[in-house]
């Protein structure tokens, strides 16, 4: 029954991955505005992600 040992390790690793993923999504603020997310999906070109940071445009001397 050593197969159980492997299976346990594999299943726990996968589940831990899911847990880490959830924690990441929580940390990155994906649960902060659930109403907004529900509405944004209706608009074709709505910004899916926050506007990307543009590098400050600097003139090259």
């Amino acid at each position: 029954m050593t197969i159980i040992l492997y299976l346990l390790v594999v299943s726990l690793t996968i589940a831990a991955g899911g847990l880490w993923f959830f924690m990441w999504s929580l940390r990155s603020g994906q649960y902060d505005d659930l109403d907004g997310a529900a509405n944004r999906i209706l608009f074709d070109d709505a910004a899916d992600a926050p506007i990307k940071k543009k590098a400050p445009t600097q003139a090259i001397p």
């Binding site: 831990a16 907004g36 209706l42 608009f43």
Partner: protein
């Protein structure tokens, strides 16, 4: 919102959102019909495309940026309509701008006028077309805009002005310290939930293997494999319980320290006992462990906690938003004698601030002129008003109950505002203590019963049946885990989140988490007349003498009474008079000059149609101002429908009997009382309360605010005086009364679903407890019964969500 127009000379006018009390539920067809403004949909004069230059400007921007699709997208939500921009004062944004390390600037603003997803899309799209903007994101849940850009502080005015031209009102919002602690608790709960979910899934998976192995007839699980699986379960479950159980353990400890018990005591005790027993069983190599039950229990309980936290967070965010918008209203006296209304933060030390009767004092300062009774209950907890004289130190958050005051500001800025917000919110939350929530009432009887039951089980098995101590303890723990109020803890919050969310989207803001349950018990609805049953602002009838009007308005500017506000808006720019005393429900006086009701001005002429105000001046004939008063457009219908719901509808007003009777007859209200002073109103409402009635008071004036506080639950339109909005449990937007009906109906539905949920979870206990006492509850039965009861309660709550969508 404020009736006082900024003087015409006021520089740099930007635009502001149209009153939120305007009618928002214009049907789609109306909006598209000819003669409607192409931007806001309100009627446009004589064949023009726009109703006002503000709308034309907003439309130009939207079309100019190629965002015309906004108008089509808005139609997705039948109730939403574009805002009509109105001129407003300019904010001092520079103070609120945060410089980021990467050289960009950031500003957080509260957005007023956000109605639907299209608004979010429009604001973000307009900002995205600005090259300097690095971040422009609207959070629809909290109604805040986070704006980041490359450039100088001065750019903020331009960017904010751009959004304000569209009709939204933006208010700098930096009481982040207030929300930080709430976010921390919320995230801690979510993390605990995730850990508990992870452990619950995995331990359950292993447990099913154990149960299947134990149940196998020909080839049962070997003792070594079983021990291994038990040990793995223990290693997953115990750290998870230690981590995810903290919210419950902390709360139970706190309760025990104060020598009381709450729902968390049986939960903590049950979980810890069961875990400890299971560990002993694992060490001894026995068959039954309950790790799965303990972890699943925590998982479901945490779901309830997270939902509860969310409902509360929303009520709190609403209160904060209201405060952020209200706090704008500080009237600073200019050297030339006029008044400029500006943000609290703009007031400089030494400025003279004018505080009208019924207004909240916005700054800390020294009273310069005027004497008045001050309600300092928010600041000091003193319930009786305090008489203040010139030279008295006054604090932000105090309510002015008497005359107009002039205050020299001594402390201003975010510190004062923050302190005030905290005080107001704490006061609002402390009011929860008056009412015991349904779940708490159940828990109070439930927790001791559960403990007693478990104790008796132990004693019975140990002494009567002669079982070993370990065995007796295991059975007692099974009782505890079976009775753990898991479904009970889910029953209420799940319903609350759905109901408050739905009300919030309908423009009804619940300020107290318990308001929903109190609303459900209402059997009598009491309306105030002026501004509540009738339209908030009246039009001044006839053509009054301009000199008298100006004089009257100089008194009226001190009051928030609807008649006074109508008078001020009719008079235009007004220089406020000094030393005005407001007699709530009667009128205003300054020396011998009086403005107010007929009796107050010593007039005995025959009654006239319609509401009126009299101006009595020494040596001159009294002047009458009459107003046209119309009931709100749906008042008749709503009164009828409330009655069909089985509610008694009453009307109490401080107005004259003829006037009250006229409106009462129009609306079909038989039970009305006129000439009520604020004290009368309170005693009438308290009288009904003593009769055992649960009264919902709907009112908007200062003279209603004691009555609002006295009623078991209260509602105010968003146009109400500051005091009333602070006191009311429910603030509703729009020009209709329908929200009152919707709120009542939603609350009743919510309450009945809560009851069903409680019945379900208690019914489950009645079936399961005898089995547990008898020692028949094996781990798999405990886990299955507990999960299924929790799931049943959740599914039942979701039914409410589906019903309300229809």
């Amino acid at each position: 919102m404020d009736a006082i127009a900024a003087p015409a000379s006021y520089p740099a006018m930007t635009r502001r959102v149209r009153n939120p009390d305007d009618d928002r539920s214009v049907a789609v067809e109306d909006r598209l019909s000819a003669g409607a403004c192409a931007h806001c949909g309100l009627p446009a004069p004589g064949g023009q495309t726009f109703c006002c230059p503000g709308c034309a400007a907003a439309h130009d921007i939207i079309e100019g940026l190629g965002l015309g699709r906004y108008y089509a997208q808005r139609l997705l939500d039948a109730g939403a309509r574009a805002l009509r921009p109105e001129p407003a004062e300019r904010w001092d944004l520079a103070r609120h701008i945060v410089a980021k390390p990467d050289g960009t600037k950031e500003l957080t603003l509260a957005v007023d006028g956000l109605q639907c997803g299209a608004c979010v899309w429009l604001i973000e799209s307009v900002l995205a077309k600005e090259p300097a903007v690095t971040a422009g994101r609207v959070n629809m849940t909290t109604r805040r805009l986070r704006l980041g850009w490359n450039g100088t502080n001065d750019d903020a005015d331009r960017l904010v002005g751009r959004i304000e031209t569209l009709g939204y009102r933006l208010v700098p919002f930096d009481i982040s310290a207030l929300t930080a602690s709430r976010d921390r608790t919320g995230r801690m709960l979510m993390r605990s939930l995730a850990v508990a979910g992870f452990a619950a899934g995995n331990v359950m998976l292993i447990s099913i293997g154990i149960w299947a192995g134990q149940g196998h007839v020909t080839d049962p699980i070997g003792p070594a494999t079983m021990a291994l699986l038990h040990w793995v379960s223990a290693l997953i479950a115990m750290p998870a319980i230690a981590y995810a159980g903290r919210p419950f353990f902390a709360s139970a400890l706190a309760a025990l320290r104060q020598r009381r018990t709450n729902m968390d005591v049986p939960i903590s005790l049950g979980v810890l006992l069961v875990t400890g027993m299971s560990l002993m069983e694992t060490i001894n190599g026995n068959d039954h462990t309950y790790f799965d039950s303990a972890v699943t229990l925590l998982f479901f309980l945490l779901v309830g906690r997270v939902l509860d936290h969310r409902a509360r967070g929303q009520a709190r965010a609403t209160a904060e938003q209201l405060l952020a918008l209200r706090s704008a209203d500080v009237a600073v006296l200019q050297p030339d004698g006029t008044v400029r209304r500006c943000a609290q933060e703009q007031v400089a030390e030494g400025d003279h601030v004018l505080v009208a009767a019924g207004e909240r004092i916005g700054v800390d300062g020294i009273l310069e002129t005027g004497t008045a009774a001050l309600d300092t209950s928010l600041v000091t907890g003193e319930s009786l008003p305090v008489q203040a004289e010139p030279g008295t130190q006054v604090y932000a958050g105090t309510l002015n109950l008497g005359a107009t005051l002039t205050i020299r500001a001594t402390a201003t800025g975010a510190a004062t505002l923050l302190a005030e917000c905290v005080r107001l919110i704490e006061a609002a939350e402390a009011r929860r203590g008056r009412f015991v929530v349904l779940a708490d009432r159940v828990a109070k009887r439930y927790a001791p019963a559960v403990h007693l039951c478990a104790l008796l089980t132990f004693l019975w098995w140990y002494f009567a049946m002669g079982a070993a101590a370990g065995q007796a303890l295991l059975t007692a723990s099974a009782v505890l885990i079976i009775t753990c109020p898991c479904a009970l803890a889910l029953a209420v919050p799940a319903v609350q989140v759905i109901a408050t969310g739905r009300l919030f989207r309908g423009g009804m803001l619940l300020k107290s988490p318990t308001a929903l349950e109190r609303l459900a018990e209402v059997d009598t609805v009491v309306f105030d007349k002026t501004g509540t049953l009738t339209e908030p602002l009246l039009s001044l009838g006839g053509s009054p003498d301009p000199v008298a009007l100006r004089e009257a308005a100089s008194l009226a500017i001190a009051s928030r009474h609807p008649l006074a506000r109508s008078l001020v808006s009719a008079a235009g720019a007004v220089v406020p008079a000094e030393g005005v005393v407001e007699y709530p429900g009667q009128g205003l006086a300054k020396g011998e000059m009086r403005l107010g009701s007929r009796a107050f001005c010593g007039e005995a002429v025959a009654a006239a149609e319609g509401p009126e105000m009299w101006l009595a001046r020494p040596g001159k004939a009294p002047v009458r101002f009459c107003f046209d008063e119309r009931p709100r457009s749906d008042a008749v219908e709503i009164v009828g429908r409330l009655r069909i719901m089985g509610l008694a509808v009453k009307l109490i007003s401080g107005d004259r009997p003829e006037q009250v009777q006229r409106i009462a007859e129009q609306l079909g209200i038989e039970d009305w009382q006129a000439d009520c002073s604020p004290v009368d109103k309170v005693s009438v409402i308290e009288g009904w309360g003593k009769e055992g009635r649960n009264v919902l008071m709907v009112g908007d004036g200062i003279n209603d605010s004691p009555a609002l506080a006295a009623a078991s639950v209260s509602a105010s339109p968003a146009t109400a005086a500051d005091v009333s909005q602070t006191v009311a449990d429910l603030v509703f937007q729009g020009s209709k009364l329908e929200p009152v009906l919707i709120a009542l109906r939603t609350a009743r539905r919510a309450k009945s679903v809560m009851r069903q949920n409680l019945a379900l979870s208690i019914g489950y206990n009645i079936v399961m407890v005898p089995l547990a006492v008898a020692g028949w509850v094996t781990p798999w039965l405990a886990a299955a019964a507990m999960s299924s009861s929790s799931l049943l309660v959740m599914v039942n709550s979701l039914r409410l969500h589906r019903e309300m969508k229809r």
